[in-house]
């Protein structure tokens, strides 16, 4: 167990170190979310009706959830690269804890997610976002994002292990995440969508997580959204972590 913890930390450190030495990758966590935020807020903002909120207030939780979901992307790219370059083979010949490769990878995502969260929130406050929440609720919102992001890292871990190249991981990831985030309450109220799409948007876990964040940070009516969001995150984690671990075992022993 102690080995698992130290090995996981060594791998996580290695993956974070990568950000320092590959600044282009760092852009993905800093500039890209801010760009999305500004484009939505100022290009679409005027045209979208969000009863009860200013569009910026409405948008921020949505943008943050979208970014957090995408945050695990480096895990897909990195694992795929490690696999094709034989680094996974080296790890597997070392007397290290086997699960540390995936655990360290996804742990590093928590770090990068916190970084983008910090940058997004700062930008949000600058362009006029205002919390309607207690400190505890703000912290709870951040906690929910860390959990949700961590769960999604495992989705990307599986993706990275399944596909044949980093490019494939990239496009498949986009194909999966874009419709899920757009057909949700992230950017527009679901009431404005046509029937079948609205139906999908309402059951979409992204809607539930975004609504939960709005409930925590904007005092929006939540219903059971916050708990549902936690449960969804845990379910995603419970489904995808074992799948990724299984796939890792198989992918590595080709």
């Amino acid at each position: 167990m102690r080995r698992l913890v130290t090995d996981t930390l060594v791998i996580a450190e290695r993956n974070l170190e990568r950000l320092r030495t590959a600044p282009d990758l760092l852009l993905a966590f800093t500039v890209q979310p801010v760009m999305f935020l500004l484009l939505f807020a100022f290009v679409f903002g005027g045209a979208i009706e969000t009863p009860g909120f200013s569009y910026v207030d409405f948008l921020i939780p949505g943008i943050i959830v979208q970014n957090i979901a995408f945050g695990g992307f480096v895990t897909a790219l990195g694992l795929n690269e490690d696999l094709s370059k034989g680094l996974i083979d080296r790890f597997r010949t070392l007397p290290m804890a086997r699960s540390a490769v995936l655990a360290g990878r996804t742990l590093a995502d928590v770090g990068t997610n916190l970084l983008s969260l910090l940058i997004l929130l700062t930008t949000a406050l600058i362009i006029g976002f205002s919390f309607d929440a207690s400190v505890a609720e703000i912290v709870a919102g951040i906690g929910l994002m860390v959990l949700f992001g961590y769960a999604f890292s495992w989705v990307f871990a599986l993706l990275g292990l399944l596909v044949s190249s980093p490019e494939a991981a990239n496009s498949l990831g986009f194909i999966a995440v874009f419709p899920l985030t757009f057909i949700s309450s992230a950017f527009v109220p679901v009431e404005s969508m046509p029937g079948p799409i609205q139906w999908f948007a309402e059951i979409n876990p992204f809607t539930i997580v975004v609504d939960a964040l709005r409930a925590l940070w904007l005092d929006a009516p939540a219903g059971n959204s916050v708990w549902a969001a936690v449960v969804w995150s845990l379910v995603i984690l419970a489904v995808f972590a074992p799948l990724a671990v299984r796939r890792y075992r198989r992918a590595a022993s080709r």
Binding site: V10, R14, T21, K85, D89, R90, T93, L94, P95
Partner: protein
Amino acid sequence: MTTTTEVPLTVSATGSRATLAAYGGEPAVSVSGLVKSFGEVRALDGVDLEAAPGTVLALLGPNGAGKTTAVRVLTTLLEPDAGTVRVTGLDVVGEAKELRKRIGLAGQNTAIDENLSGLKNLVMVGRLYGERRAAARRRGLELLEAFDLMDAANRPAKTYSGGMRRRLDLAAALVANPPVLFLDEPTTGLDPRSRLNLWETIETLVADGTTVLLTTQYLDEADRLADTIAVIDQGRVIADGTSDQLKDRCGGERLEVLLADGNEAQVAAGALATMSEEPPVTGEATVSLAVRGRDRTIVEAVRRLDQAGVSVHDIGLRRPTLDDVFLSLTGHVAEAIDDQEETA
């Protein structure tokens, strides 16, 4: 990577290596009846191998012969379907965890993190062996020094040349000072000078007591480095022994004659034919034939050729090369027969 530095690649021979050298009387590597299939493909079909401590065993064979699969089984990356595989007396399945502390692997791909510096790569590997950061750093610096990478220690590995990457990769395999080292086609793609350097490094390691199992497609590499050679083709060991033993197996020496005039090849072949049990092979101005024994062979040949009125540019006896061995064992040449990647 140089043999000129004073820095030891391995810990002193009186250390763990010497005590491990016994392995309870077992060879450093012992494989019997190893079978491994991928779906319908039988990558290894009953392989037996053995390497004594401190020796080099070369697996020689073309692409797709099963060499890499064998290395992957030996380094605990793949589980065998059948057979017994033991390294330093430990079973690769049942005692994999313990075994991983005693082996190093440098594969066909350079398994390094390109975004990390050379030093950070080695420190990472050291820490994954359970070393503390300071100790891992010390060992990392020691290896960088030994492999002539000190100047590039803090540069990201992606800026390294091909030869430097290969050295860093080998250094990573040596972090824990393993008594058994596996090298999967260590010199493929290297320029001649880097190749020679790597050979010297391997020789240094072996002189210090390391057991090396390497795979290669190059006959000269096996010839130079290996104490024993196992020739592998289509998942089977088709011959094994020392380089000399293998050469003897393909029928001793050959007499080779280079003629002054290409048109006289048939005449020369006719004159020499009764010296061999097999018909002579004629080429463009050359005749070659298998002969038994060295004594007076050349004198006799020259006398016969002179009598036949054939003038000769050059004549000599040649020991068969491993190329000849491979050809006579498999019926095809050793060079990549097809472009098919190793199945594993």
